[in-house]
C-alpha cells in the first residue's frame, strides 16, 4: 500500500538527519510518538510535536525513557504505528522494553542517535558504540533489526524501511543514527505519497473464536489482532504458548525463542541491505556504516588513486549481520579494514564471519569526532601489503 498523503511532506528540502527521520516516521504512517528529551536526538520528536497536531495523531513527552519505550507499545496494540527516540543513556533505560517488544512481537521503532559513551559521555558529540547494545542489550535470546543511515536522505528513507520491516517481521527495529548524521544538514527529497511503499500491519482474518495470537504463519510471523474488537486476546512478557498464555515448560520456551530468532533468517543474508563498490577486484574491503562510511569513502578513493585495489562494503542493515556475504568475500580478498567510532564492535562480527580466511583490521576510535581519512588509508595500505 502507499503512504497516507496526510503525513507526507513531498518536495525538496534542506533538513538535518533528525528532522528527516521525523519526516520518515510521518510518511511511514506513525501517528504516535512518546519521547523524553536527550541530546542529540530530541529534534526528532520536537519536530513530530510540531507536525502531528495538523496531521492527526499523538505526541506525548513521558516522564522517562522507560515510560516512553512502553507507551509506544500500548499505542501499537491499540492500532497505531509508533516509535520513540533517544540517545545513549536513554537507550540503556529502554533495553527492558526492547526485550518486551521482541517477546510480545510488537512492531515498533526505536531511534538511537548515538553519542559518545559510556554513561553521560559526550552528549553533543558522535559515537557508534551502541551497536552491540542494540543487538544484545536486553536480556535473553531474541532478534532485532538495526539500520544505519549515513545521510539525512537515508534518515528519511530508512525510517520508512524501519517501520515496514517492523510490521513485516513483528520485531522492534533500531534506527542506529549518530550525532553527525543526526545534525548534518543536506538535501532531502521526499517523494509523492504514491511513490512510498508502506507495509500495512497484518491483522488476522480469523474470527475471535479461532484466533490464536501467537500461531505463526508459514513465514514464522503470527498475525495480530487489534484491541477493542472482541478478540479478547492476552499478551504477556512471560514465555507463552500459541494462545498467548504463560507456559513455563522447556518445550514452549524452546519453540518460542527459536522462532523469535528464526523468523529473521530471510533478512540475515539474501535481503540484507548494503552498499558496495569495487568489490570485483578488491584486495582490501573497508566495512563501515553510518557517518564513518563517509570518511571511509574518502580513504578508499585515496587508496585507489595510489593503485591499491580497495573496495567498499557499507552495512545498512547492521543486524541481522550479513555474515554470509562477508564470508563469501573473505574467501577472495586479502583483508577487511573496519573503521568505527568505538573500540571494536561490528569488527567482531566481521572477524567471526571471515573465520580466519582474510585478515581483519580494526580502526578503532573512542568517539567525539570522526576518523581522519588518513588513519583509515594507512590501515588500507598496511592491509594491502
Amino acid at each position: 500500500m502507499h503512504a497516507d498523503p496526510k503525513g507526507v511532506l513531498t518536495g525538496v528540502h534542506f533538513l538535518d538527519g533528525d528532522h528527516a527521520c521525523c519526516e520518515g516516521t510521518l510518511a511511514a504512517g506513525a501517528r504516535f510518538a512518546a519521547g523524553y528529551p536527550i541530546t542529540p536526538s530530541t529534534e526528532v520528536v520536537e519536530r513530530f510535536a510540531s507536525r502531528i497536531p495538523t496531521v492527526g495523531g499523538i505526541f506525548i513527552q513521558m516522564e522517562d525513557e522507560l515510560a516512553a519505550s512502553i507507551a509506544i507499545q500500548g499505542a501499537v496494540w491499540a492500532g497505531a504505528k509508533a516509535f520513540t527516540v533517544t540517545s545513549g543513556p536513554g537507550f540503556s533505560l529502554m533495553m527492558e522494553h526492547i526485550g518486551l517488544a521482541a517477546m510480545t512481537e510488537t512492531p515498533c521503532v526505536f531511534v538511537d542517535v548515538q553519542r559518545g559513551g559510556p554513561s553521560t559521555g559526550l552528549p553533543t558529540l558522535p559515537g557508534q558504540a551502541d551497536m552491540m547494545q542494540a543487538r544484545w542489550g536486553s536480556h535473553g535470546d531474541y532478534g532485532i533489526i538495526a539500520l544505519c543511515p549515513n545521510s539525512p536522505q537515508e534518515c528519511f528513507d530508512l525510517t520508512i524501511q524501519a517501520f515496514n520491516l517492523s510490521e513485516e517481521f513483528r520485531v522492534p527495529v533500531m534506527m542506529m543514527m549518530d550525532e553527525c548524521v543526526g545534525h548534518m544538514t543536506e538535501k532531502v527529497v521526499i517523494p509523492e505519497p504514491d511513490q512510498i511503499e508502506i507495509t500495512p500491519r497484518r491483522y488476522t482474518k480469523l474470527p475471535p473464536e479461532e484466533y490464536r495470537p501467537f500461531e505463526p504463519r508459514e513465514d514464522l510471523v503470527p498475525d495480530m489482532a487489534r484491541t477493542g474488537e472482541g478478540y479478547r486476546f492476552h499478551i504477556t512478557g512471560l514465555t507463552h504458548d500459541e494462545r498467548g498464555y504463560p507456559n513455563m515448560s522447556v518445550e514452549t520456551q524452546d519453540r518460542l525463542v527459536r522462532r523469535l530468532l528464526a523468523k529473521l533468517n530471510p533478512l540475515a543474508n539474501g535481503r540484507s541491505l548494503c552498499e558496495t563498490e569495487n568489490l570485483e577486484d578488491a584486495d582490501v574491503v573497508v566495512v563501515s556504516y553510518g557517518i564513518t562510511s563517509r570518511v571511509a569513502q574518502r580513504a578508499i578513493q585515496l587508496a585507489r588513486s595510489r593503485g591499491i585495489r580497495a573496495g567498499k562494503f557499507r552495512l545498512i542493515t547492521a543486524w541481522p549481520f550479513p555474515a554470509e556475504r562477508i564470508r563469501e568475500l573473505a574467501g577472495r580478498v586479502k583483508a577487511f579494514v573496519v573503521p568505527e567510532l568505538n573500540l571494536g564492535q561490528m569488527v567482531l562480527e566481521v572477524e567471526r564471519a571471515a573465520a580466519g580466511q582474510a585478515k581483519v583490521i580494526p580502526v578503532s576510535h573512542a568517539g567525539g569526532t570522526v576518523h581522519n581519512p588518513d588513519t583509515i588509508l594507512n590501515a588500507i595500505v598496511e592491509a594491502a601489503r
Binding site: D4, K6, G29, A30, R31, F32, A34, P53, T54, V55, G56, G57, I58, I60, M62, E63, D64, L66, A67, A68, I70, A71, I72, Q73, G74, A75, V76, W77, A78, G79, A80, K81, A82, E96, H97, L100, E167, I198, P200, R201, R226, T227, G228, E229, G230, Y231, R232, F233, H234, I235, T236, G237, L238, Y245, P246
Partner: protein
C-alpha cells in the same frame, strides 16, 4: 465427593465465569489471598456498569496482582514490572474509545512504578487504576515494599521495617487524581460499587484495596491466615467518606480508614490537549486518528 448443594437450577453459572479465562483455572493465588476477591468485585462492577466489554482493556505489571490481566477474559496485557501505567497511557491515547483499566500491586505501582503513577495522575490521564495493596512483594517471597508498615518483619527487613511508608490515597490526591477511594477485601459491596463508579468517571481514578497475604506477609508476623486478616479488616475499618486523605495513614494493626475520599471533575489529558491545540491551531488542528493509521 459430590457438591453439597440443593436444587441448583439447570444452567446456573457463577457470574464471574464469563469474565475469566476458565481454561486457566485454578489460578496461582494462595489459599486466603484476597486478589481473587477483588476480581469478583471487578467482574460484578463490569456487569453492573453495562460497559461494552469488547472495549475494555486491562493492563497489569508484574507480581501476584500482575496476574489478574492473564485471567481476565478481556483484551489483556501483562507488561513489565512497574510499567503498566505508561503502557496503558499509550493505549488510551492511541484509541480513546477504549476503557483502559490498570490492575496491579503496591510494589509494582508505587515502588518501581511510582514515578509513572504520579505523572499519570498529574496529567489526569483517563485510566482506572486498581491497586491491590498486600503491603509486601509477595511473588518474590515477601520483601518490604513502600507500603510495609513499621515493625513488620519481611524477607528484607528481618529485624523489622522502619522506613516511613507511602499513604497511597494521599499520594494519589496530591498528584491530581480525579477519584480516590480505599476499601479492603472485606468491603466487597462497597469496592464493587467504587469500581462501577470509576468505569463511568472520566480522568485518573484510583482505588486502593487492602488484601491479605497470609503466605508471606502474615506468616512472618504471626498474623494468622487470610480469614484472620479479613476479621481484622472488619473490626478495624472505619468508613469515612470524604475524609482528608492525609489522615488516612495505615499501620501494622491500627485503624483502617476506608471510603471514597476524592471525587472531583477536572478536564482529562485528552480534553486539555484538544483545548490547547484548538486554541493554538484553530481549524488546522486535526483530531487524533492514531489508531486508524493502518
Amino acid at each position: 465427593m459430590t457438591p453439597t448443594t440443593l436444587e441448583i437450577p439447570d444452567g446456573a453459572q457463577n457470574p464471574v465465569e464469563p469474565f475469566l479465562r476458565m481454561d486457566r483455572m485454578p489460578h496461582i493465588w494462595c489459599p486466603g489471598c484476597g486478589i481473587g476477591t477483588t476480581v469478583n468485585c471487578f467482574t460484578r462492577a463490569l456487569l453492573d456498569s453495562k460497559v461494552n466489554l469488547d472495549k475494555v482493556a486491562i493492563v497489569s505489571g508484574i507480581g501476584c496482582t500482575g496476574r489478574v490481566a492473564g485471567y481476565a477474559r478481556l483484551d489483556s496485557f501483562h507488561t513489565t514490572h512497574g510499567r503498566a501505567i505508561p503502557f496503558a497511557t499509550g493505549m488510551k491515547l492511541a484509541n480513546p474509545e477504549l476503557q483502559v483499566v490498570v490492575y496491579s500491586g503496591d510494589g509494582d505501582l508505587f515502588a518501581i512504578g511510582g514515578n509513572h503513577f504520579i505523572h499519570a495522575a498529574r496529567r489526569n490521564m483517563d485510566l482506572k487504576v486498581i491497586c491491590v495493596n498486600n503491603m509486601t512483594y509477595a511473588m518474590t517471597g515477601g520483601q518490604s515494599s513502600s507500603t510495609t508498615p513499621a515493625h513488620v518483619i519481611s524477607a528484607t527487613a528481618p529485624y523489622g521495617a522502619f522506613e516511613p511508608t507511602f499513604n497511597l490515597v494521599a499520594l494519589a490526591e496530591a498528584a491530581g487524581a480525579s477519584y480516590v477511594a480505599r476499601w479492603t477485601t472485606y468491603h466487597v459491596k462497597q469496592l464493587s460499587r467504587s469500581m462501577e463508579e470509576v468505569l463511568h468517571k472520566k480522568g485518573f481514578c484510583f482505588i486502593e484495596v487492602l488484601s491479605p497475604c497470609p503466605t508471606l506477609y502474615q506468616r512472618r508476623n504471626k498474623m494468622g491466615d487470610g480469614l484472620d486478616a479479613m476479621k481484622y479488616y472488619k473490626q478495624a475499618s472505619k468508613i469515612r467518606n470524604g475524609a482528608p486523605t492525609g489522615e488516612c495513614t495505615l499501620s501494622k494493626s491500627g485503624e483502617i480508614v476506608v471510603g471514597k475520599f476524592v471525587d472531583r471533575d477536572r478536564p482529562d489529558y485528552l480534553e486539555l490537549l484538544r483545548a490547547q491545540m484548538t486554541e493554538a491551531l484553530g481549524e488546522r488542528y486535526v483530531e487524533s486518528e492514531a489508531s486508524c493509521s493502518c
